[in-house]
Amino acid sequence: MENYEANGLNLKATELRLGLPGTGNEQQQQDQYSSSSSSHQQNVKNNYNNNNKRSSSEIASSCDDEQQQQHDDGAPLAKAQVVGWPPVRSYRKNVLEKKNPESSMFLKVSMDGAPYLRKIDLKFYNNYFDLLKGLENMFKCTIGVYSEREGYNGSEHVPTYEDKDGDWMLVGDVPWDMFVTSCKRLRIMKASEAKGLVSPL
């Protein structure tokens, strides 16, 4: 693929600004939902929310649906799952998640301070941007912007990984394809502990 060059991070710096879900474009959409000035939007939102309530028993009993919880701060549901939506047949839902061991690459991810580890499949991500966004969503943290000079300077959390040689490396230094083949596990460190891993350039 022509995109995601060399180290996969030559995206515009702003595109790497990874905040909580609810920043950037997503905020605008959610503003539409939460604005009460326009009645039609409110109706849509009401029905959307009402449907969630009404069909919650269906969501619970439906086999492979996952339900995301509302954020504790009351921010609107980012992507709640609604029964039968989008209208795709069951077997199509799992196109990426088939149980083919050759095409998946599950890794453990730990986060400092979290009581248990998570597992992700690296094969689902195309590039560092996708991966970091996914990690932020999973752990409800901010990872911030990578730079060659400064690593993740300024972020609360720093993503690191253990490579084939057993060394702990900063996520983002090597090209994505190289990263995918050498990464054994991930650890999201607190910034205060990660000082030694800032790229010394």
Partner: protein, 588 residues
């Protein structure tokens, strides 16, 4: 029999015909001969309404039955009217059952139909079922009741196991077609394929791609080599590439092929053999399957693609590069199904490589956005519309769209008959302007005068439905979700679209006023579905009372307060209320 409204036609038949001349009746034999050329069930319906002798001639000569809603009529009524039927098409559950919106055991069981057919139509040859429950008992009855049975097609059906299929394979000596699509049946074992007798050789169509049966490859290979007339073969994922090669050697005349798994460690010799096998498929028009296909193995196909008109990649998530390389070899494509992993870049390749394209379906790899992939957007769709002016059927799942893009798209492709756009986040506005998507669908309705089927999505006000009611005069099927502002939206459609046959609505602010405004119209339609709207039990009750020839069925969710009608299914029928409705279906 699209609408069996007349058991006995008008008797004022003596003076039909040009002005003052009394109509001379045709001799029956002439009439019947002429009618033997009339095949469309809609035409036959019209014929039957002309006068009584035409009605009788028609009913005696009809051999193909089409029943779009199995509950609109009963087996008894059908058997009384049509004495000589050889082919039956029956459709059951409402379409939203495909997306888990109907509880299990809702109905549409084919068994009572088969019991009647076994009595009345011993010469039945073809049965085509869609969204029906088909048990092993039914398949056994089918297998044993019709000695000349030829073709079984099951689309989105459930309820059977390998035992039913075994009965079919063992007893139907003249079977030419076994076509199972989108099967919802769980774990159908593999023994059925071995049940075809050793001398059985009549199969022309075999499709078991959607079954996860672990069949015996040796028996399959023998079967394929015996059936010299085989033209359609669609295997399932358990069949490997080198096994496929052996099958192709036996069946080089295939016009439609569904491969099995398309990833395997092949030796260079095997690779060459597979490549040669594909190159020898000179007649291939349709290709599907291709599970796990990737850049290493896709080139194996190139030799078979020159005459391809239908490429179904909906089980093969490809990246744009591999996809573009494949398309270069498929200049004659008319229909293309892909997964959105090809992204906009892949669709640009469609625009440049497939000038004859008529149908495009783009399915989402990640419908619940778990992995935050881009998928496709308005620019991919635009690229296709620029390069493929003959495009008339689209199904497009995307995460963002703009009014401007859709307006341009329908300018480029004004001949849309089927426009199904699914912006996956409910109620999402134009992502550039933040406005509702009203103008987009307004443009579709206005520009595409041949539009028969429309699915809308995104943020929509009543304005979009006003447009639809005003302009979409040929619209037959409309699907609506998370849209509209008030009852007026639904009313606009009901009042404005004369040819509307199927209306399915979910999560919209339409209530009793809208529901009741269409009461007369529903008798001209096949069905109406409304779920998670603002309709109440009271409103449904009024509809049921005032329109006795409609069935008004309600299913309420658990924990519902009893005054709202959560799921409403309304359909015209001459058979009265369902006798097989399970407890959770309330017929009002």
């Amino acid at each position: 029999m699209d609408h069996p409204s007349e058991d006995s036609p008008s008797s004022s038949d003596k003076s039909l015909g040009p002005t003052n001349h009394p109509q001379l009746p045709f001799p029956d034999e002439v009439l019947e001969k002429v009618l033997s050329f009339v095949n469309s069930h809609k035409d036959r319906s019209s014929v039957s309404l002309v006068r009584k002798d035409w009605y009788n001639a028609e009913r005696w000569t009809r051999s193909k039955l089409f029943i779009g809603n199995c509950y609109s009529v009963s087996p008894e009524i059908v058997a009384r009217r049509f004495p000589r039927i050889k082919s039956v098409t029956l459709k059951g559950k409402p379409r939203f059952s495909d997306f888990n919106m109907l509880p299990r055991d809702w109905g549409a069981n084919v068994h009572p139909w088969l019991v009647m057919f076994a009595k009345v139509y011993p010469f039945l040859e073809e049965l085509r079922l869609k969204r029906m429950t088909v048990t092993d008992e039914s398949l056994e009855l089918l297998a044993k009741s019709f000695s000349g049975f030829k073709a079984l097609s099951l689309s989105s059906c459930d309820g059977f196991t390998e035992n039913g299929l075994k009965a079919l394979a063992s007893h139907c000596r003249n079977l030419t077609e076994l076509d199972i699509q989108d099967s919802i049946s769980e774990d159908v074992g593999g023994g059925w394929l071995s049940s075809f007798p050793e001398n059985f050789s009549s199969l022309e169509v075999l499709n078991f791609a959607s079954l996860n049966s672990d069949i015996s490859f040796d028996d399959l290979e023998r079967l394929v080599s015996r059936c010299k007339s085989l033209r359609v073969l669609k295997v399932n994922e358990t069949i490997s590439l080198d096994q496929l090669q052996r099958l192709l050697v036996h069946a080089p005349l295939l016009t439609e092929l569904g491969t099995g798994s398309f990833m395997q460690e092949l030796t260079p010799r095997q690779y060459e053999e597979v490549e040669t096998a594909f190159s020898n498929c000179k007649n291939l028009e349709a290709l599907s399957g291709l599970w796990d296909a990737n850049s290493l193995y896709l080139p194996l196909l190139y030799g078979a693609c020159a005459g391809l008109t239908f490429l179904n990649l909906s089980d093969a998530p490809l990246q744009s590069g591999d996809f573009a390389n494949l398309l270069v070899h498929c200049p004659n494509l008319r229909r293309l199904w892909v997964i959105d992993t090809v992204e906009d870049k892949g669709l640009e390749a469609v625009g440049s490589s497939c000038p004859l394209l008529e149908e495009l379906r783009v399915f989402p790899a990640d419908p619940y956005d778990r992995h935050h992939r881009d998928g496709v957007s308005e620019s991919g769709f635009l690229a296709v519309s620029h390069g493929c002016p003959k495009l008339h059927y689209v199904l497009y799942f995307c995460r963002r769209m703009t009014n401007a893009a859709v307006i341009t798209i329908v300018k480029n492709c004004p001949d849309f008959t089927h426009f199904r756009l699914c912006i996956m986040t409910p109620g999402q506005p134009d992502h550039l302007t933040n406005e509702p998507m009203d103008e987009a669908f307004g443009a579709v309705a206005k520009t595409c005068t041949k539009l028969k089927r429309l699915s809308v999505s995104g943020l929509l006000t009543d304005v979009s439905f006003e447009y639809i009611g005003k302009y979409a005069k040929n619209l037959e099927t409309l699907s609506v979700a998370f849209a509209g502002s008030s009852d007026w939206g639904m009313q606009s459609v009901l009042e404005g679209c004369p040819k509307l046959r199927k209306l399915e609505i979910r999560d919209c602010p339409f209530g009793n006023t809208a529901l009741l405004s269409g009461k007369l119209k529903y008798e001209t339609m096949r069905s109406l579905w409304m779920s998670a709207c603002n309709v109440t039990m009271k409103g449904c009750g009024i509809l049921a009372r005032e329109m006795p020839r409609l069935n008004v069925e309600v299913i309420n969710d658990e924990g519902s307060d009893g005054s709202q009608a959560d799921k409403v299914y309304v359909y015209r029928t001459v058979a009265g209320p369902r006798r097989d409705a399970p407890g959770f279906v309330l017929t009002l």
